[in-house]
Symmetry: C3
Subunit: 292 residues, 3 copies
C-alpha cells in the first residue's frame, strides 16, 4: 500500500513514473478498469478542481465512489478525522482522498490505517497532485525539466501549491524564481521583482490571492496588486517566445491575471485542469491497481 501525502517522500524516479503513466493516459492509452474497488472522497474544505477531477478519474477507472460531506455527517456530533477515516476503512473502502485544513493531518492517520490516503491538500502544506499536474503540463510542453526557468508569483506564504512546487522543481533541476508582495513573503527564500525576471522565464506560474484567508485584509488594493504583481496584457506581450502561463485556479480575473490573458495562446490554465484528471488516474492506479 502506497500513500500519496507529500511529494517530498517520492524520488525523482517515482515522480517520473507517475508522469509517464499519466502522459500515456493523456495520449489515449487504454485506461485500466479497477472494478469492484471503492474510494471515498473526504473534502473538509471547498474545492472544485481537485474534488471533481478526482471524481472524474475514479469514474474513468470504473471505481465506485462515496462522496463524504462533513456538513451532513457525524463530524457534526464531534467525531474526529481519525475516527471518521477509520469508519470508512471499517465499512470497506479501498482508499480515501482527503482534503483537510490541518497541516500534515495524515501523520496521525498513517500508523493505524490499512488503506492508502490520497492527499487532496493539507492546510498550507502539501498538495501533491496539484504539483504533479503542473509538472505534467510543463513536461508535455518542453519534454524536460532540467534548466527550465519558472517564476512563481503571488501569495507564496499561504500556498500549499507553491511550497510543494519549489521543493520538487529544485530537485528536478529547474531554476525557480519567487515574486511576492512583502505581505506574502517568507523567510528562507530570495525574492525578486516580476519585471526583472519576466522576459527570461519559460513559465510564469501565478498564484491565487486567497482573499478568504486574509482576514486582516490585503495591504494592496486589487488594482495595485494587478499593476505590481498581476500578469497584465502588457506583461504577457513581453514574455519570451513560446513561454507559457500557468495558474492552479480558481483565478481572480483582473487581480493576479488580466481577463483577456486567461484564455490567451500562452495560457495552459485549462490544460492543467485536464491534466489533473490524468494525474489522479495515474496516482490511483499506482496504489490500487495491478500496475506497480
Amino acid at each position: 500500500m502506497k500513500h500519496l501525502t507529500r511529494l517530498s517522500d517520492f524520488t525523482v524516479e517515482e515522480i517520473m513514473e507517475i508522469l509517464e503513466r499519466a502522459n500515456r493516459y493523456a495520449s489515449g492509452e487504454t485506461i485500466p478498469q479497477l472494478e469492484g474497488k471503492v474510494v471515498a472522497n473526504l473534502f473538509f474544505e471547498p474545492s472544485t478542481r481537485t474534488q471533481y477531477s478526482f471524481m472524474m478519474a475514479e469514474q474513468k477507472l470504473g471505481l465506485k465512489t462515496m462522496d463524504f460531506t462533513a456538513e451532513t455527517s457525524s463530524v457534526q456530533k464531534g467525531e474526529t478525522l481519525y475516527d471518521t477515516v477509520k469508519t470508512f476503512e471499517a465499512i470497506g473502502v479501498d482508499g480515501v482522498v482527503i482534503r483537510h485544513p490541518q497541516n500534515n493531518y495524515f501523520e496521525e492517520l498513517i500508523p493505524n490505517l490499512n488503506i492508502p490516503i490520497f492527499n487532496g491538500g493539507d492546510g498550507s502544506g502539501n498538495h501533491p497532485t496539484q504539483s504533479l499536474l503542473d509538472l505534467l503540463t510543463i513536461y508535455q510542453e518542453y519534454g524536460k525539466f532540467e534548466g527550465l526557468k519558472i517564476a512563481i508569483v503571488g501569495d507564496i506564504a499561504h500556498s500549499r501549491v507553491a511550497h510543494t512546487n519549489i521543493e520538487v522543481m529544485n530537485r528536478l533541476g529547474m531554476e525557480v524564481h519567487l515574486v511576492a508582495p512583502e505581505q506574502f513573503q517568507e523567510e528562507g527564500y530570495a525574492w525578486e521583482n516580476l519585471d526583472d525576471v519576466l522576459e527570461e522565464m519559460d513559465i510564469i506560474m501565478l498564484l491565487r490571492v486567497q482573499h478568504e484567508r486574509h482576514h486582516g485584509g490585503m495591504q494592496l488594493t486589487k488594482e495595485e496588486y494587478h499593476e505590481q504583481y498581476g500578469l497584465t496584457v502588457e506583461r504577457e506581450k513581453r514574455m519570451k517566445e513560446g513561454a507559457i502561463i500557468m495558474h492552479p485556479a480558481p483565478f481572480n480575473r483582473g487581480v493576479e491575471i488580466a481577463d483577456d490573458v486567461v484564455e490567451c495562446k500562452r495560457s495552459r490554465i485549462f490544460k492543467q485542469m485536464s491534466n489533473g484528471v490524468f494525474i489522479r488516474m495515474a496516482v490511483l492506479v499506482g496504489s490500487l491497481g495491478y500496475v506497480d
Copy 2:
C-alpha cells in the same frame, strides 16, 4: 452539439420528435446505453424534481454523473459560473445540466463552450424540460394539442414554467387562458376569472405560490388565495368530464390546491413527475447519443 436552453429555439417538429421519443421510452422501448459518457449536474438553486429526475434519467441511460454542490466548491472563493462550467469542460464532462437563478445565464456560456447545456431552469425565464414534460402528459391524455383549452392559474409573473408554456402552447395551437391575482399579473396578457373559465377547460394547470420569492409578503392570506384562486374540492367537481389537473410541484396543499384534490382521479401531478424522467432521457439522448 445541441443545447437545450430555450424551448422557443425549437421548431414544432423538433419538439414533437422529443415528445415521441420520450413517449416510446414511457411505453417500454429499450433505453439506449450511453456508456462512457459523463454528465455534471450543476444546481445553484434548490430543486427536487428537476435535479433527481435528471439524475434518474442519467442513471437509466448508463451515464456517469458528477453532482456539483455550490456550497462545497470554489464558488465559495468567488469563482464565476463561466469559469466553473469551463472547468467541468476541461476535466472532460460530455454535458452539463444547470439550474441557476440568473435569467439567460447560458448566453455568456454558449459562445466558448464545446459541450451541450441542458437548462434545468434559469431565473424567472425558461424551464424547457418542465414544459416538455407538461406537453408529454397532455399528449398522452389527448393525443393532440390543437384546440385544447388550458387555464394556467397562479403566480404567472414569477413562473418560468408559465412563460415557457404560454409561448409553446400557443405555437402548438392550444387555447391558453390565464388567471392570476393582480399581484401576480404582468402586462401584455389578457387576464380572466377562474370561475368563468373552469368548466370549459380540458386542463387546469396550477402554479405554486412561491412564498420564498415574495419578500414583501403575499397580499392575500393563504385562505383567501385558496378561496379565490385555489382548486378547491368544490371547483374540482365542476370541471368538465375527462378534464385533468396539472401542477409542476412542489405544491402547497390547501393553498393553490385542496389537500384531497392532489391525488384525485383527475390529477396528473405524479404522472408529470414520471414523465419528467422520460423527457430528460429523450433530451440527453438527443444531444449525447447516436440517435440524431
Copy 3:
C-alpha cells in the same frame, strides 16, 4: 414488498434469516447483483455510519443510488416528507432509505407507498439496521443469544438504538441490564449500577452521550460521567474473560469510553461498522432481490 421500519414487526425467525444471510456475505458468499434497480437515500439528520454503510451496501449489490440532501431540495420550499417520498416513487426509485427526526415518520407514508422503506433511524424510536448489526456482531462471537448477559450503559432515554435493542434482545432470550445516570433513566425499566454488574456481563454496550440533544446541558461533567458511567481502563480489566465491548459510534473518547479502550482487544466497535454493511446488504436483498 417488505418495509423495514420497526424490528418489533419481525418474528425471531425473520430476524435470524436476515442475520444468517448477512453472515454468509461476511463469510465471502457471492453477493447478488440487483442490476437496474435504483435506491434513494434520504437523510434528514447527520449520519456517517448509517448513511455510508447503506451506500456501500448498495454499491456492493450493483444498485444505482440517488443521495438526497434536504438542504438543496424543495424541502426548502416547504415540501413535506410525504410529498418528497411520493416524488421519488413517481420518478421511479425501487426503494427509499430514510433517516428522519420524527418518531414513526413512516406511519403516514406506508398506506400510500408502493416501494419499500428502509428505516435508517426515526427520532428517538427505532433504528432496526443498527440493532441487526449489533445482533450479528454478538452472534458471530457467541453463536447464540439465549442466556447471554448484556449491560446497556448510558443515555438510554434518548437512544433509538437502546429502545430497539432492549425489545429484541429480550425476545431472543438475552438477559438485559440497564445502567444510566438519573437524568437519562426512563420509567418502566429497572436500573442497576455499572460496577455491580460489570464482571458478570458477556457484553458491555455503551451508548453515546448525545451532547447535541441536551440543550439544558448534562448534569454531570465529562470527567464525572467517565468516572461513574464510562468504560475506564480499570473497568475494562475487570471484565469477564472473553467478554466484548460494543458502541454504536460515534463515540466520545474519554467520556463514555477511555481513549485506549476504543481499539483494545475486547472492542468490537469497528467490527460492528463492518457488519453494518453486511446487514444492510441482507436487508436490501430481502426486499428488492429475488431471494425471498
